[in-house]
Amino acid sequence: MEYVSPFDERRRAPVPLARRPAGMAGARVALLDITKRQGAQFLDRIESHLRDAGAETFRLSKEIFSKPAAPEIIRRIANRGDLAVEGLAD
């Protein structure tokens, strides 16, 4: 039987995982605060561990946690960072 699919069957090209770094020393790590409650606490702790491991960190915030990050935020992460950590929270 033939049917009209409700799905968009076009395959989206799988995005390969980025290359994993050998270590944190000297790595530039973006910490993205999605602005959900207590997310900053989580990132504070991660940031402390990353700095202990020799990473350089920088923080960014999303406008609101429930919407995708603005292209400008993503651009800034890509331009300046080697890695990014996004903190989900509640």
Binding site: E2, Y3, F7, E9, R10, K67
Partner: protein, 504 residues
């Protein structure tokens, strides 16, 4: 040299694909398969991990299914097959031209269009040799040694006697409704299969290829045909389709932030409110049981929108939809306002539309909380009962809500406001003033930054403003049960209204 017969076949990922395109830049590995054949499934699963390396090495890989496109897409998806997926319709002339007797059969075609070799059935060593030939010796990715190393295939459809096939098809037990579950084209309830005829009737002459945009969270494209397929699946009659389209347009408006709503752990679903002549035209129920079962139009219009979100948008519970509990309204949530019984201007007029227009308004809403009040004798009393019932919505100490509450006022309660001459603004202001508590009583469990920053005796209102109190009238004429629908919070979303376009 055996020449590879040319073909052009429908593709899952793109416009139809020809052999010429597949071999334009290098050799191509054609893998003829069929959905019913377990050996085909095995072959696709085993080829899946090596396909990216083959593509990288300049070898095109294509699975050629003797099945309809959507069956091919589903089967390839299940096998995790990451390369081209093509579909060959009966009478399988391409398979015949390649002299197929068995599926799977892998055929290697070089850039000049010559067949370099073929492997019939699942034969790991044979296929490995074919891959080596394709990429040139040692660079071929390994298929591994996981058993089975050999497995016979199944008879290719083109090799079956057409009369025998017809007899088998006629006698095969085929349950269309079960097929829909098998495909995952459901919300958990039986659906109406979206045959081309039904979808055509739903479209009513509209261009099915037009796009309304992408549906969050999975970003499938909402072509009008896919919206129509969802409407068919939901059980809509074709005359409901303009309302479904209006609801879809409203849901896809960026201001509605469907993306956040579709993936949140909150329970909220998308409530569709219908106002104007559409209610009578489509027999939408705004009377007895307005929030419950019984009306095909209400139930299927709401369901069509939810199917669009969960199927086209891939916001299916447990997958991208992460709602902890969900609520029954996420199956479908559509109400109409009883404008004729209401003492107030209709909901859509309040939102700036002319009364004679049919309008769909979308809100993110929690499940209805019923409010019984058979004893209030004044509008002041009634307003307090209704308002304090809403005090616990979202979370008992989360004041102010920072999001709207929708009150569905039953006709008997509405009549009390009518007799007293209270307009909507009066009800809102009285309710806003009545429902507030000292901050110190709200400082436990989940509470707001406003409560934490306030002094102990500061009176905190349940809403940020009277404007967050929304009112519409619906329900049976007997019984004093109104309801409040809590919000979806933190989405930064707006309520969105769309006029129903009957002819476009």
């Amino acid at each position: 040299m055996v020449e590879a017969p040319d073909f052009t076949l429908a593709s899952v990922a793109s416009a139809p694909v020809s052999l010429g395109e597949l071999i334009a830049r290098g050799p191509a590995l054609l893998v003829f398969v069929s959905e019913e054949c377990p050996t085909s499934a095995l072959t696709l699963r085993r080829l899946a991990p090596v396909a990216p390396a083959l593509l990288k090495a300049g070898v095109e890989v294509a699975a050629v299914f003797a099945d309809p496109l959507e069956v091919a897409a589903r089967t390839a998806r299940r096998a995790g097959f990451p390369a081209a997926v093509l579909s060959e319709p009966p009478p399988y002339e391409v398979s015949s031209a390649y002299g197929l007797q068995t599926v799977p059969t892998a055929v290697l075609v070089d850039r000049g269009g010559a067949q370099l070799g073929r492997v019939v059935g699942w034969d790991a060593e044979g296929l490995q040799a074919l891959l080596a030939e394709a990429v040139g010796g040692d660079r071929a990715p390994s298929l591994g040694r996981e058993p089975p190393l050999r497995k016979p295939g199944c008879t290719a459809k083109c090799a079956l006697d057409p009369e025998l096939m017809a007899r088998l098809d006629a006698s095969a037990p085929f349950d269309e409704l079960e097929e829909m579950f098998e495909r995952g084209w459901t919300d958990g309830l039986p659906v109406i299969p979206p045959t081309p005829e039904r979808v055509r009737a739903m479209l009513g002459g509209r261009d099915g290829d037009l796009s309304l945009g992408t549906v969050p969270p999975g970003l499938g494209e909402a072509t009008v045909a896919r919206v129509a397929a969802c409407a068919v699946l939901a059980g809509c009659r074709p005359e409901y389709f303009p309302v479904v389209l209006a609801a879809a347009r409203a849901a896809l408006a960026p201001a509605f932030n469907l993306n956040g709503q579709a993936v949140t752990t909150q329970p909220a679903g998308q409530l569709v409110v219908v106002n104007g002549p559409a209610r009578e035209l489509l027999d939408l129920n705004c009377g007895i049981g307005a929030l419950g079962p019984g009306s095909r139009a209400n139930l299927t219009i709401g369901r069509a929108l939810r199917l669009l979100v969960s199927l086209t948008g891939e916001g299916y519970p447990g997958r991208l939809d992460r709602s902890t509990l969900g609520h029954p309204g996420k199956l479908g949530f559509c109400i109409a306002e009883d404008e004729e019984t209401s003492p107030w201007e209709p909901f859509h007029v309040e939102r700036g539309f002319a009364a004679e227009r049919s309008v769909v308004t979308l809100m993110a809403c929690d499940a209805p909380l019923s409010i019984s009040d058979h004893r209030s004798t004044t509008p002041e009393e009634l307003t307090r009962v209704l308002g304090w019932a809403a005090a616990a919505t979202w979370s008992p100490n989360w004041w102010p809500l920072g999001a709207p509450s929708l009150f569905v006022i039953c006709p008997e309660h509405a009549a009390m406001f009518r007799r007293a001459g209270w307009g909507k603004d009066r009800v809102r202001e009285e309710m806003f003033a009545a429902v507030r508590r000292p901050a110190r009583e709200l400082r436990w469990g989940e509470t707001t930054p406003q409560v934490m920053a306030a002094r102990d005796e500061d009176m905190i209102p349940k809403w940020s403003s009277p404007d967050d109190i929304l009112l519409l009238v619906a329900g049976g004429e007997a019984g004093r049960y109104s309801a409040v629908l809590g919000p979806c919070t933190g989405m930064g979303e707006q309520i969105v209204s769309e006029e129903v376009r009957w002819n476009t």
